[in-house]
């Protein structure tokens, strides 16, 4: 399983990377951690003629926690994000999700940006990005643009990135209220692709009433799916178990999951309902004790 031949470039700056992408267009592919890209090249499922290796661009590796959001450079290693305690305080979903991403070796090399740019339908980080309404900064030779997660994830393994663009930064909104988050996934083995994953974050006021809620699923369609309208139904309520069940049930009805050798669409739909309910309850309990 040797990769097909390609030309290798190693830009020292984002500007240089973008210039390379502008020059080679669709023939080029950015390589960050390579944890998803290299297996595909080894299996000859993708054959870029040029690889643009962004691993040496220090300007893409940072983690800055600001009052409204945490800004993470696209090439920041997943392990760096996972280990950051201050970040986990502010954006708990990130560490929770990362614990489910592959194994130690995967996270030591894989990057936050890489997972988002790869946009696997069952991946954890795109799901969290969608649920939190992350802001993705795309950079090209002609400038920068910010795209919301829901516009960024356009389909299975496909994003709003143009051939001449590189993901530069992801901004993860931090909630200032009394918050509880939960991330749960069902996979056959630890670290495998999720059959279904759910990410939930809720905020409660002093009377345990929900003031804000967001939840979503991965593995149930071409992209991660969020449910803003259903989440809205929880606002103002105490998120009683009965209501949670209704919302979970409704979410499961809205999706059209696929089938493969590991899970049928009906089983995924069932798991979706179970995980939405469980994460809503868990997030509620966490917020209540926060």
């Amino acid at each position: 399983m040797k990769s097909p031949a390609f030309e290798y470039t190693r830009p020292a700056s984002v500007a240089e990377a973008c210039a390379l992408l502008a020059r080679h267009g669709a023939d080029a592919k950015v390589i960050a951690g390579g944890q998803s890209l290299v297996p595909m090249m080894a299996m000859r499922l993708v054959r870029p003629s040029v690889l643009v290796d962004i691993n040496e661009i220090d300007a893409l590796k940072y983690l800055a926690i600001e009052p409204q959001e945490a800004r993470i450079g696209a090439c920041t290693r997943q392990v760096t994000v996972e280990r950051d305690d201050a970040l986990s305080e502010r954006i708990p979903l990130l560490r929770m999700a990362l614990k489910c991403v592959g194994h130690v070796q995967t996270r030591n090399r894989g990057t936050v940006g890489g997972s988002l740019a790869h946009a696997d339908p069952s991946a954890e980080l795109p799901l969290v990005a969608l649920v939190l309404g992350a802001r993705l900064r795309l950079r090209s030779a002609s400038g920068r643009r910010d795209v919301q997660a829901r516009e960024f994830l356009t389909g299975a393994m496909s994003t709003a990135l143009r051939p001449d663009e590189c993901l530069e930064e992801i901004g993860w909104p931090a909630w200032r209220e009394r918050t509880g988050a939960a991330f749960m996934e069902v996979s056959i083995r630890h670290g495998d692709f999720a059959l279904v994953a759910a990410a939930t974050q809720v905020a409660l006021d002093a009377q345990a009433r929900c003031t804000r809620a967001s939840f979503g699923l991965a593995g149930v369609g071409a992209t991660a799916v969020a449910f803003p309208e259903l989440a809205g139904r929880l606002v103002g309520t105490k998120m009683e178990d009965g209501l949670v069940e209704e919302v979970a049930h409704a979410a499961a009805k809205q999706i059209s999951p696929g089938s493969d050798m590991h899970a049928s669409s009906e089983y995924r739909r069932h798991l979706a309902r179970v995980l939405v309910a469980r994460t809503l309850r868990a997030a509620r309990e966490k917020a209540a004790s926060a």
Binding site: S3, Y8, G34, V38, N55, V104, Q105, N108, R109
Partner: protein, 159 residues
């Protein structure tokens, strides 16, 4: 049409190694075929089995998922670099021998890399932490039981 070759310089087990490699040559293939460090093994070439685990700048990574050109300017540690400075077995290697933490030996270098990295960061890990650390290294011989014992033994001996 021959493939373009790239000059690389990588510090492998503390020694500067130079090479001229095609871009698509994986790091594991470079280590094994060019440097003849055959201790690191190939099991799947798609990043699941962990037999190819090496230390990249001190942290375990899958060397089948990196190209040798990407390692230019970095430090790589392989199983061959684990032995003690005096040349004997490291405490971890010795513990694997004592606890029978291997049979066919094929996954062993990857296991040693993963376990050594764990012990370097967490000198007295719990069993759960050990299983988590080697969770990305598949073994078909041992059922992991004596591997876990070996790592616990190495940790205990370092007290």
């Amino acid at each position: 049409m021959t493939e373009k070759l790239y000059e690389i310089s990588v510090e492998v087990n503390g020694v500067r190694c130079e090479g001229r490699v095609p871009a698509r040559l994986s790091l594991v293939d470079w280590l094994r075929e060019e440097l003849r460090l055959t201790g690191t093994h190939v099991g799947c070439e798609h990043g699941v089995c962990g037999a190819c685990s090496v230390l990249l700048d001190g942290e375990p990574v899958r060397s089948c998922l990196m190209y040798a050109v990407q390692a230019h300017g970095h430090r790589v540690g392989t199983v061959e670099g684990l032995r003690s400075p005096e040349g004997g077995l490291s405490p971890l290697q010795d513990a694997f021998c004592e606890a029978h933490g291997l049979q066919c030996g094929y996954c062993t270098p990857g296991m040693l890399i993963a376990a050594q990295a764990l012990l370097d960061a967490t000198p007295h890990p719990t069993e759960e932490q050990i299983r988590e650390a080697i969770g990305g290294n598949l073994c078909r011989c041992t059922g992991y039981a004596q591997i876990v014992e070996a790592v616990l033994l190495a940790a205990e001996r370092s007290r």
